[in-house]
Each structure stands twice: as structure tokens, then as C-alpha cells.
């Protein structure tokens, strides 16, 4: 069970909004985490707590396929992104980076900003503690859950090659 606060965002949040191109020349994911989503909610990066959630609308992560976007979110301490839907490349990159993402249109509509959520990452059950309602996210393939628990694609391959992470 993961427990944290919901930060609610709208539809079509692009990877450009998640990590603006002007920061891409920096090479350290911690510097991206400091500015993640800054153009939409300047307070997010400094106030987001370890284990908090991003709850968003349709097509989260659309636009450029930059991997810095899920990496910045993960480095900022976000436990999972819950959205109505994800862009294909963001969805893929998120698992490769070891960031858990859940598709749940109902939660996207009903969760309020600041609500406390509890998430069971294995079953995809999301509970809104404030409103006392729960939602079932679409099932995630065990292959992808495993990818996240191994820390992402490259850590997994590294383990396969070298026998250790």
C-alpha cells in the first residue's frame, strides 16, 4: 500500500510542460526534478512529498518522446501517475524508467486536488481517503509491474548481463 497526496492536473499535459526544453541541457535528473511541471504549478516541485501522486486527465505526456519527463517525475518522489489516458511514448518510457503509471478514467474525474490517496500497486485499487470512495485502475501487465519493481529497463538488463544491479 502506498499512501500520499493527490496533485491534480488537466488534459493533454505535454512532455514539454513536464520538463520544458530549456532545461534539457542539464544532465542530472535531480536538476530536472527541481523544475518538473514548473510552468503549470510552480509550487509543485518544491512541495511534492515522497510518495505523492499525480492525477491527470487525457493523453498525459503527449508531445515529444523525451524520457526526461517520466524520469523527472520519478526523481521528484512521485509514487505513481494516475490518468484518464497516457500518450503511447510516455506510457512506455515510464515503465522503462521504473515509474508506475495507472490508467483510471474514473479517478481522473473524481479525485480532488489535495485528497489523500491509498494505492495498491499490485491490484490497482485506488482509495480516496477524504471522499471515502475507491476506484479500480485498469490492470497492468505483470511484465510491466516487474519492470518497475526492478527499477526500470536498463537496471533489469544490467542485472541480466552482469548478474547484479
Amino acid at each position: 500500500m502506498i499512501s500520499g497526496m493527490a496533485w491534480v492536473f488537466g488534459d493533454h499535459i505535454s512532455s514539454d510542460a513536464i520538463i520544458p526544453a530549456r532545461f534539457l541541457h542539464q544532465r542530472d535528473s535531480r536538476s530536472w526534478a527541481k523544475v518538473v511541471l514548473a510552468d503549470l504549478r510552480p509550487e509543485f516541485a518544491s512541495q511534492v512529498g515522497f510518495g505523492d501522486f499525480i492525477v491527470a486527465g487525457r493523453n498525459f505526456g503527449c508531445g515529444s518522446s523525451r524520457e526526461q519527463a517520466p524520469l523527472a517525475i520519478k526523481t521528484a518522489g512521485v509514487a505513481a501517475v494516475i490518468a484518464h489516458s497516457f500518450s503511447r511514448m510516455f506510457y512506455r518510457n515510464a515503465f522503462n524508467m521504473g515509474l508506475a503509471v495507472f490508467t483510471c478514467p474514473e479517478a481522473a474525474v473524481r479525485v480532488h486536488d489535495g485528497d489523500r490517496l491509498r494505492l495498491d500497486p499490485y491490484s490497482g485499487l485506488i482509495e480516496d481517503v477524504e471522499q471515502q470512495i475507491s476506484f479500480q485502475a485498469q490492470p497492468v501487465d505483470p511484465y510491466l509491474t516487474d519492470l518497475v519493481s526492478q527499477g526500470g529497463l536498463l537496471k533489469k538488463i544490467r542485472k541480466q548481463i552482469t548478474g547484479h544491479g
Binding site: 518522446s65 500518450s87 506510457y91 512506455r92 501487465d141 510491466l144 529497463l153 536498463l154 538488463i157 548481463i161
Partner: protein, 423 residues
């Protein structure tokens, strides 16, 4: 007896060593070709080194192409090109495209016969889907996927559900692949094929050239499609006859294959189209797309500037002059196309009309290099994205269209239908 499968399912299943794969299921599968460019390679090389990679899985199946900023536009891009050349040498990559042999990767690899029907291909570039025109399952991935693929020659894929696209009718004069692609984007919208693959069918296909198919597959990314596959037919085999660098085996969908839905497009009566700023799906007829003064026309990119497209543009421009306000930039996407355009006199036509020729490069397509737009400028491009700021200043505006409309627009100085010039 296996359940019937779409072309996408069959390619993924066969490369995963399975008889059947269910849409939605995740499989690990062997890759036939891995592609990266000058934007994605540096991050992929870093990942490759991070995981302790020493060799690429197969030196004949990895291709790195510097195309976005080539010829190097500044020191930073020169360093990237250098890193790519050094990596290619260290890994003894068999197929090298550098200097005078480089071009826009998605045009180049097909032309070189390096991607073939039935193959599974990943590229760290969203336009990798272009190769669906050849009957390959080709899709864009991120830099981590690429790093992993370089080492293992494998990738993970969620088998997509497929949409059946039926193309029928008769093509009118000047109507080509870009017009069909834009008509389809208008039908599908930005999420119409989300996570899905498109598979093409219908009586129009025998009359649809490989160039037109490539334009169509190329643009389908804007509908969210993961892949966009044409069946392997006479057009495919004719195209590959003296190009294919490996033997290949075509894969056809099963007769009863399950499609999530069917969309139909009858091209009879279709007029020349253009996508208006700032969305590729906001499509209107070229006659009515917009009347604002155009400053630049770009004929190039991996969408629609292959030899056939250049011939069409030259036909419209022959004996005419580009509007005095317009900069016409023509960048043949590969050296071979450039050479053939010289031999056929197309280059002379473009220059005589007042155009400028540029090197094989992505160039203005993503506003990084050559032909960048100033504030408020308007462009018509045979390209695939017209989002705000794509070609330069955020207040510039881009129309997307096929080569006939681009050429006509260059002459009239506004978005125009070729018939307006030729009548």
C-alpha cells in the same frame, strides 16, 4: 488451429517465437533492425555504457544516421556526429551513412533495402512507423529501449489491437499520398488510433505507389498509431527488387483476423488538402485552407519529398516563377534522390523557378537547422508536424500539404490548389 491474427499480431508473434499473441499481451521479441539518429544516439550510447554494453547484438542490424542537424550546424551537433562515427567504428557497424552518404533516416533505410517486409523494427524516432509501408512492424521507442536493444537485440511490445483502413475510389489529378494521409488524420483525430496499429486494405492499393504509402504511414503517428502497415503486394516486390539487402518473407493478415474497427476512405473526388496551423488534423481543401501571405515553402522531410514527390513539384513549377515574397527551399532527403533529381532536370527546374536547393537533411522540418521561421512568418511544408513553434518562432504558422500544393503555393504566395496555377 490458431486463432486468426492481424498482420501486426503475426509479426510480433513470429519474432517472439510464439504461434499466437493476444492484443494487449506483452511479449519480448527479437529485432530485425535498430535505428537511431543524432537526437537520440547520445542518450542511447550513455545507456549502453551504463548497463555494461560492450558489443552491439549484430553489427549488420544497427544503423545510426545523423540527419537532424546535418551538415553539422554548430559545435554541439558536430560533437554528436563525431560521437556517432566513433561508436559506429568501435562497434564495426556494417551500414554507415556519413558525410555525402547521409540523408533523412526514414527515407534512407528504405531506399537502401535495410528494412524489409515482415520485419520487426524499432527506431528512437517517432517516424520509424514510415517503414510500415513496406509491410514491416516498425515503431518509435525511447532512448532506454534503444540502449537495451543495442545490447540484446530484443525489445518488449504490447501487442496492439488493429484498425482496418479500407482505401477505395479513383485518385484525381494531383492527388497523392499526402492528401490521403491528411484525409485520414482528419477522420482519426489526434487519439483515433491510440496504442493501436493501422492496417491498410482495399481496391486502391494496387494503384498506390510505395512513395505514397510511405507518406501515409509516416503521418499516421499523429493519430497516436503505434504502427501503420501496408500489405505486401506487387508494388512492394517491385520496389524491393534491386534494393533488398537480405532475404525476406512476407506476412499477411489471416482472412478472419480480428479488427477493433474499420474505417473507409473513398478517394474519388478528393481535392488537394492542407493541414492548418497548429494541428495536423485541422485539414481543409487547399483552396480554402487560408488566404494569408506565405513567406516560405519547404519541400523536404521524411513525409513527402521522395523522387516521385519532387517530380510532381517540378511539374507544377516548370516554366513558372516563385512568388517574390516566398523563399522556396527544396531539400531532397537522400543523396541518391538528389542525384536523380539532377539527372532528370528537376533541380534545374527548381532553381530556374527561383528556389534554393539544400543538402539531404531534416533541415527546416523541426526548426533546428536551415530555413528557421521568424516571428509571424507563414510556411507551407511537405512535412508532418505543424505544432506551434515547430519550425521556428512560436508565432510562426505552418501549413502541411503534398508537393503539388506546396509548389502551387510557392508560385501564388498563398496556400493554393495546383489547378489554380495550371488552369
Amino acid at each position: 488451429m490458431n486463432q486468426p491474427q492481424t498482420m501486426s499480431q503475426k509479426i510480433l508473434a513470429s519474432r517472439a517465437g510464439l504461434p499466437y499473441v493476444e492484443p494487449g499481451a506483452i511479449v519480448e521479441a527479437g529485432l530485425d533492425m535498430v535505428l537511431a539518429n543524432d537526437v537520440s544516439t547520445p542518450m542511447a550510447i550513455r545507456g549502453f555504457k551504463d548497463i555494461g554494453g560492450e558489443h552491439v547484438f549484430d553489427s549488420s542490424r544497427v544503423v545510426l544516421v545523423a540527419d537532424h542537424f546535418t551538415p553539422n550546424k554548430d559545435v554541439a551537433s558536430a560533437l554528436i556526429s563525431k560521437e556517432m562515427v566513433e561508436f559506429a567504428s568501435a562497434m564495426r557497424l556494417e551500414h554507415r551513412f556519413e558525410g555525402g552518404s547521409s540523408g533523412v533516416s526514414h527515407v534512407l533505410l528504405a531506399e537502401q533495402g535495410l528494412i524489409l517486409p515482415g520485419e520487426l523494427v524499432v527506431g528512437a524516432d517517432s517516424r520509424t512507423v514510415t517503414h510500415g509501408a513496406l509491410g514491416a512492424f516498425a515503431t518509435g521507442v525511447g532512448a532506454s529501449d534503444l540502449a537495451a536493444a543495442l545490447v540484446t537485440g530484443r525489445g518488449w511490445f504490447q501487442a496492439p489491437a488493429s484498425i482496418r483502413v479500407e482505401l477505395g475510389g479513383e485518385l484525381g489529378p494531383w492527388i497523392g499520398g499526402m492528401d490521403i494521409a491528411l484525409a485520414l488524420l482528419r477522420l482519426l483525430g489526434p487519439e483515433g488510433a491510440h496504442y493501436q496499429s493501422l492496417e491498410f486494405f482495399g481496391p486502391l492499393l494496387p494503384r498506390l505507389s510505395m512513395e505514397a504509402r510511405m507518406s501515409i504511414s509516416n503521418l499516421m503517428v499523429e493519430s497516436g498509431a503505434k504502427a501503420a502497415l501496408f500489405p505486401v503486394d506487387q508494388v512492394t516486390t517491385d520496389y524491393l527488387r534491386d534494393k533488398a539487402k537480405r532475404s525476406w518473407r512476407s506476412v499477411a493478415p489471416d482472412p478472419e483476423a480480428p479488427y477493433a474497427k474499420t474505417i473507409k476512405l473513398d478517394v474519388t473526388g478528393l481535392e488537394s488538402l492542407a493541414a492548418r496551423p497548429h494541428r495536423p488534423h485541422d485539414v481543409a481543401t487547399a483552396r480554402r485552407a487560408g488566404y494569408e501571405p506565405v513567406n516560405q515553402v519547404f519541400i523536404g522531410s521524411c513525409a513527402a519529398a521522395r523522387l516521385e514527390d519532387l517530380r510532381v513539384a517540378a511539374q507544377v513549377l516548370a516554366g513558372r516563377q516563385v512568388h517574390p515574397r516566398v523563399r522556396l527551399l527544396v531539400l531532397p532527403p537522400t543523396p541518391r534522390i538528389m542525384l536523380q533529381a539532377v539527372r532528370e532536370g528537376l533541380v534545374e527546374t527548381f532553381l530556374a523557378a527561383g528556389g534554393v536547393m539544400g543538402p539531404p537533411s531534416c533541415g527546416p522540418c523541426m526548426g533546428g537547422h536551415l530555413g528557421v521561421l521568424a516571428a509571424g512568418e507563414v510556411a507551407v511544408a511537405t512535412a508532418n508536424r505543424n505544432y506551434r513553434g515547430r519550425m521556428g518562432h512560436p508565432s510562426s504558422r505552418i501549413y502541411l500539404a503534398g508537393p503539388a500544393v506546396a509548389a502551387a503555393s510557392a508560385i501564388l504566395g498563398r496556400v493554393a490548389d495546383p489547378a489554380e496555377v495550371l488552369s
